[in-house]
């Protein structure tokens, strides 16, 4: 394997891991409520910006990170409570518009609470690149990959082994049946927004030292996360992870070998091509329609 290819693959995996975390957030909320939360990218922004401002205020990283994640989760809960919950039963497009409104509102708040400048977060453990297979990798990239892996394993355990996780899965398959079995579906809905917001915030914190962060960083990351979730198959956890990694690698290879100006376009062309041949994504459930 050439060093150049290894370099592109490593870069792609790092970005892909971030997309995967955002995509997981999309899928968790979609499963609980059939809502596509277009404010998902704003959680990424809140995570990064809150950590930067807390770190600048003198808080150690070990304290700033959990506070920022909790703050984002709080915003997620508020979004569900005050914007999504009151509109229950509204059409899918109406709910999409509500979450888009929420994303504009959150971006506006971010410019008021913070500012419109770019901010850098110090890498967690140094900036000395590490040699690997002829390529170099930043220590921060290892953090991104390691934390993402840990989160994926943790989520696997949560959904497969705990009662709350199983209740969330049951709700995603059939909300009414789950409710009849005693699952508090309203709580599941609330929890899904909190959990997704926390995942988004973690993604935002992990990537902030590599790409900088600002009030509008959530827009493109949110779109890419949505694209990754669709690519993998909406609502599938494994699909979200695979979709994110594939998207990141394709983008990185496209930028390296084809054209860096068309990096984002290449990603979307691939997604369109996949959807044309597999209309439910790579791992999506086949849908049957009743009349």
């Amino acid at each position: 394997m050439s060093a150049q290819l290894a370099q592109y693959l490593l870069g792609g995996l790092t970005v892909g891991a971030i997309y995967a975390l955002v995509a997981l957030g999309f899928s968790i909320i979609y499963n609980a409520s059939q809502v596509i939360n277009f404010a998902q990218g704003e959680f990424v922004m809140i995570g990064g910006m809150a950590t930067v401002s807390l770190a600048n205020a003198g808080l150690p990283l070990l304290l700033a990170v959990p506070v920022a994640v909790l703050a984002a989760a709080g915003v997620g809960l508020a979004l569900e409570k005050f914007a999504v919950e009151p509109a229950r039963g509204a059409s899918v497009v109406t709910l999409i518009i509500i979450t888009i409104g929420a994303s504009i509102l959150l971006r506006g708040l971010a410019t008021l609470v913070w500012d419109k400048n770019l901010h850098a977060l110090k890498p967690f453990s140094g900036e000395q690149p590490i040699e690997f297979a002829g390529a170099t990798i930043l220590p921060q990239s290892l953090w991104v990959l390691g934390v993402t892996l840990a989160i994926v394993l943790l989520l696997g355990w949560f959904f497969g082994r705990t009662l709350t996780g199983k209740a969330m899965l049951a709700t995603s398959h059939n909300p009414l049946a789950a409710q009849l079995c005693g699952v508090n579906t309203r709580f599941v809905l609330l929890l899904s927004f909190g959990l997704s917001a926390a995942l988004g915030a973690i993604a935002g914190i992990l990537i902030a030292p590599i790409t900088l962060t600002s009030w509008d960083v959530g827009v493109m990351l949110g779109l890419k996360g949505f694209a990754a979730a669709i690519l993998g198959g909406l609502g599938s956890g494994a699909g979200a992870v695979v979709g994110g990694l594939v998207l990141g690698i394709v983008e990185s290879l496209g930028a390296g070998y084809v054209s860096s100006a068309y990096k984002d376009a290449i990603a979307f062309v691939i997604i369109l091509a996949v959807l044309f041949f597999m209309p439910s994504g790579l791992f999506g459930r086949k849908s049957a329609e009743r009349v």
């Binding site: 509109a87 409104g101 504009i104 779109l223 694209a227 376009a265 979307f268 997604i271 369109l272 009349v291």
Partner: protein, 312 residues
């Protein structure tokens, strides 16, 4: 003639508003706002046919709007085509593109369709920004004024009447289309695609047809914007403009042609009024969007009509 139907009374009311409105437009700035409302309304009336009646979402219509604007701009400014020929060629080109991409895209459903149209819109906007030799890139490019038979059409007061007439034409076309067999087929599709197919409707053909028509509406509106403002920038091609357009349709009320016009007017005016709030503009705009959709999930005009009928 019954004046209480949308096709007669509604159209007459819209014509009256367009005729009387200049009395309230005190200066060129307000003419500009009115023209912007008209142009957005034309796109929304077309988009509403797709979203409201056929039940198919598109998060990429700004792409068609942008292709219309840049098509006219490039053919007239770079190749010296007469504006009318450029308009015709651009519209035909966009219609062909919509036909070609529409077939595979409209086989998708729900959120997958949203993603595909979004992706298409983003690809178009990236091409516009990147091919700067042709489009001027992020800086945009200037466009010659619209001329026909030696007459030059320029200035807000002239374009107000052009856009007004075009809007009336668009609404008239949309209202007639909805009542035609093709329109009924679309509404059947919205209710149940399988059900419609069983009753002999070619679902793909009907959906692609309406997709092409809505793309043509957007493209013509784009061409008009280019010639009117004399300048095009990539801002109007991007994802945000697509979202704005869908929001206008949903805000005004889906499956209501006049709702689309009202939605376009409200959401074009709102940012103009909110500029006095300066840094709070985005927060208030977002809050208004959420509140409207929570309290009027069916949109502004249908909710209003429902309340009025209830009082009777």
């Amino acid at each position: 003639m019954d004046w209480r139907t949308p096709r007669t009374g509604g159209l007459a009311l819209l014509a009256a508003v367009i005729l009387v409105l200049p009395l309230a437009l005190v200066n060129n700035y307000w003419y500009e706002v009115a023209i912007l409302i008209g142009i957005n309304a034309i796109v929304c009336v077309g988009l509403n046919l797709l979203i409201g009646y056929a039940g198919q979402i598109s998060l990429g219509h700004a792409g068609f709007f942008g292709l219309g604007a840049y098509g006219s701009a490039i053919l007239t400014a770079r190749y010296g085509w007469p504006p009318v020929a450029a308009l015709a060629a651009t519209t035909a080109g966009v219609a062909l593109l919509a036909l070609v991409v529409g077939r595979p895209i409209l086989k998708l459903k729900g959120h997958y369709l949203a993603m595909a149209t979004l992706g298409m819109g983003i690809i178009i906007s990236i091409v516009v920004v990147t091919e700067d030799g042709l489009t001027g890139g992020p800086d945009g490019m200037s466009v010659p004024a619209f001329t026909l038979f030696g007459l030059t059409f320029a200035g807000e007061r002239v374009w107000y009447w052009i856009v007004g007439a075009a809007l009336l034409g668009a609404v008239w076309l949309a209202l007639n289309l909805i009542e035609s067999p093709a329109g009924r087929a679309l509404r059947a599709l919205h209710g149940s695609e399988v059900g419609a197919q069983v009753s002999g409707i070619d679902a793909t053909r009907a959906k692609v047809g309406i997709f092409v028509i809505s793309a043509i509406f957007a493209s013509v509106a784009g061409s008009m914007t280019a010639h009117y403002s004399g300048f095009v920038t990539p801002g109007k091609v991007g994802f945000f403009h697509s979202i704005e357009l869908v929001t206008m349709v949903v805000f005004g009320g889906m499956a209501s042609t006049f709702g689309a016009v009202v939605g376009a007017a409200a959401l074009t005016l709102l940012p103009q009024l909110l500029t006095v709030l300066k840094e709070y503009e985005m927060v208030v705009f977002g809050a208004v969007m959420i509140a409207t959709m929570v309290f009027m999930p069916r949109g502004f005009l249908p909710s209003l009509v429902f309340e009025l009928k209830k009082k009777k």
